[in-house]
Symmetry: C4
Subunit: 264 residues, 4 copies
């Protein structure tokens, strides 16, 4: 196995001890860097540890830059990685820090600094490092049409309910426009119930009760559909990643990549 | 195939390319027209784009009028369509705009304009255009008796709990009448929890806790019943619509309409 | 079949046309009488229709009294019915109106009148009249041990979480005592979330987040257990009631009552 | 069977009448002692019954001390028990009362007294005494990886959503920092919805609606995964505890402890 193949195994897969160690270190670095971005947003903490945060941020930026360059060098089809979802996120999470050097003026700097918050999307990468995460992802993909139909039903119901409540309660009771009434309907149907808008007339409360009870009864069905699908077609998971095209949705026991035909 | 049969396939079914294209255009038109009605309800936006909204509304009204007339001409039993749920909605979504021409006086015009909000029910038509929507609908029909029993149990429990809380907390703590206390019980049992009414005495909070925990435990059962039914009797879906009577609940592989005997 | 046996079939069972008609009339009468009790609690409505409510109440009381006497006369073991749950409810729903005649003094009358609210428990009888209700009831009985364990886990978790939050947030942030903190924990764990008490310190919000996420993840398990039980052992329902002892939990196809051996 | 073996059966197992009686008495004592700690936290009640609470507390402390000593004497490997989770809880629930004698000064006494609140963890022991509790525990252990992935997904989603909402709504609408925005995202995604922080701009409400609906649709999947696992691999329960090492996760029909090889 060449050095490049070895590096591919370490960086892209999680089957060997070296690959696992690399993943765990990266996982910790991502969590820490996201933690720093978060703590920076708390005024009190930012003022006290501003210098330490600067040092930490440059360390993480350099580490992630090295990882980004390595990934491009090792993979066979670098362009596919660069323009993939994770490739763009990897780039977006290191660019703002470098941009901060060249940008002058407080307001421009503020905008560039706020761009660093996009780094939070890097935590999505962690999903890959959990074996069962793949299974969850496959289950989601498998049920995606049913979930879409469910979302569509919830949205349609919210639209109709929101419009009716706008007619019943009206602007004088907080339902100032149809979009705002639809927001209320979604808050109610998903059982979140902030209480920032709530019906105050007797007829509005009656109608809201009907919405809640009906929604509650109907909602058991999509849960049942997804569960029934999973009981009858249990999803499978696999952590192998093709070293040619980075495809990672292989079935168990696959010898060749189903996307490009390369040996796994 | 005659022109009429071809038009039937385009307008009423979604199996051919032309039928799919028609459905997608209609889908977009419905969503846009509903979007216009919604944005009109926001005061700021309505004042600025009043003229553009007028033009858009007339365009949609003429488009939907053409569709309505076509549907009546093509189907074999037009009266069945006209008095069906979708037929009435189709008519209600175009009538108010025409009525606006003949009606004089600001207050009358306001009432007619508000009738246009009923157009929101047109989005229900979209349910038909999702293949899996049928499956969800069949599952709902299949579980309707169980959902009804569940709704009945929730309502009965809410009645008893609301009455008891009215006796415990009383009008001085926001539980001003039994119907209002039942509204509170439904808000609590469905876990919406607005917080507009909440128990403030120690005994009321204890009783509310019992309600929440019990309700929470019992609610797992109907979800389980619906899921168990779906696991044992998975629902099937079919997008064919009879060109004679517009019946659309056919089983897979059906050759004749089970409602009127016409060839599918 | 003797008159008594016929009456038994009409009053206690729902298999014959006469039995169904009796059940529907009783169902409507119960719903109406509960509706009257509810509307009486709304001050505005009660003042306007006080006399009409009095007439309605006496009508319902006399009707329910007749039904109560008939039930005692027809059943073979009247004492078992009188001291059963439904027997006591039937009595409690007619007694207060009669007591109102003999009681003098406004305050005593108020107490007696409020007792009429217990009539709301009569709606529980409706559960019997829904065929699938039995199935739900059997499923609940079948899963009762698991639901109890679930309730126990929720209560234990609420106790521990409430106590910890009392230590973290303390009386100055609304967590004035451990019972009140437990009330908050239950409101949070059941996802009701009134917002009358909510954490305001950073550490309290962090801990509350942990509670919500953990609770949310763990709660999927009991739902799964109940569903798995129902998938593997689907419950059966049966509407036959023994004319000797009023036992109503018979299996399908049973010829003799499993409780007293009487022919069904 | 020696006295020691008999005592082991009484104290550690629940299969014999004596063992059951011991468990029930201990269960009641734990619930009562926790109840006393809770009532002490209510100012009004504590002032009135201070003396009675002192007497009760000493009684419970002495009872639990005896139980603790007996457990150490009877078990073959006492150190394993002492440093187990339940061993530490048992010690922590009796120590503070004894420490109260030696500690002088009001503020030190306050700290020691507040330590008694840790006794609430003893209620966790009750889980062992419910037969089905084991099954729930096994099911939880069996699904622990899936629940972890689910928790991870919820946390990742909350992080990203919280950061986006911090950028959209900003500090002027209550989203004062990223951690606080994440707290809001968790409150929303778990459908608790206190309403202490809620979006007030149009774009924030739109984005919050997307979060709620998406979260609602995706959440059906983990519930389905856990249920599917439980349907295909129903968990088993067993109440036997090894008298050598206190291991209590034995499969049904096991003759030797799978942890130390000792005869059960």
């Amino acid at each position: 196995m060449s050095l490049r193949e070895k590096l591919h195994e370490i960086i892209f897969e999680a089957d060997t001890p070296a690959g696992k160690a690399f993943d765990i270190i990266l996982l910790l670095a991502i969590l820490l860097s996201v933690g720093v971005v978060m703590l920076e947003s708390v005024d009190d903490i930012n003022k006290r540890y501003e210098h330490a945060f600067d040092v930490l941020e440059w360390s993480f930026t350099i580490l992630f830059t090295l990882e980004y360059i390595l990934r491009i060098l090792i993979i066979n089809k670098p362009l596919k990685y660069i323009f993939s979802f994770y490739g763009i996120i990897d780039l977006l999470s290191i660019l703002p820090t470098y941009m901060g050097i060249f940008v002058k003026g407080t307001s421009s700097l503020m905008i560039v600094r706020s761009l660093r918050l996009l780094r939070v999307f890097r935590v999505l990468k962690l999903t890959r490092y959990l074996g069962e995460g793949n299974q969850l992802w496959v289950a989601l993909l498998q049920s995606r049409r049913k979930i879409l139909v469910f979302l569509f039903v919830v949205l349609t119901a919210s639209m109709i309910m929101g419009t009716l409540m706008f007619m019943i309660e009206g602007p004088e009771h907080g339902f100032t426009s149809i979009p705002r009434s639809i927001y209320w309907a979604i808050v109610t149907l998903t059982t979140v119930g902030y209480g920032d808008i709530s019906p105050s007339t007797a007829i509005g409360q009656f109608f809201a009760s009907v919405i809640m009870v009906l929604g509650y009864g109907i909602i058991a069905v999509p849960t049942g559909i997804v569960t029934a699908e999973l009981v009858n077609n249990p999803p499978t998971s696999n952590t192998q990643v093709c070293r040619n095209c980075a495809e990672d949705q292989h079935v168990d026991g696959a010898t060749y990549c189903h996307s490009c035909g390369h040996l796994l």
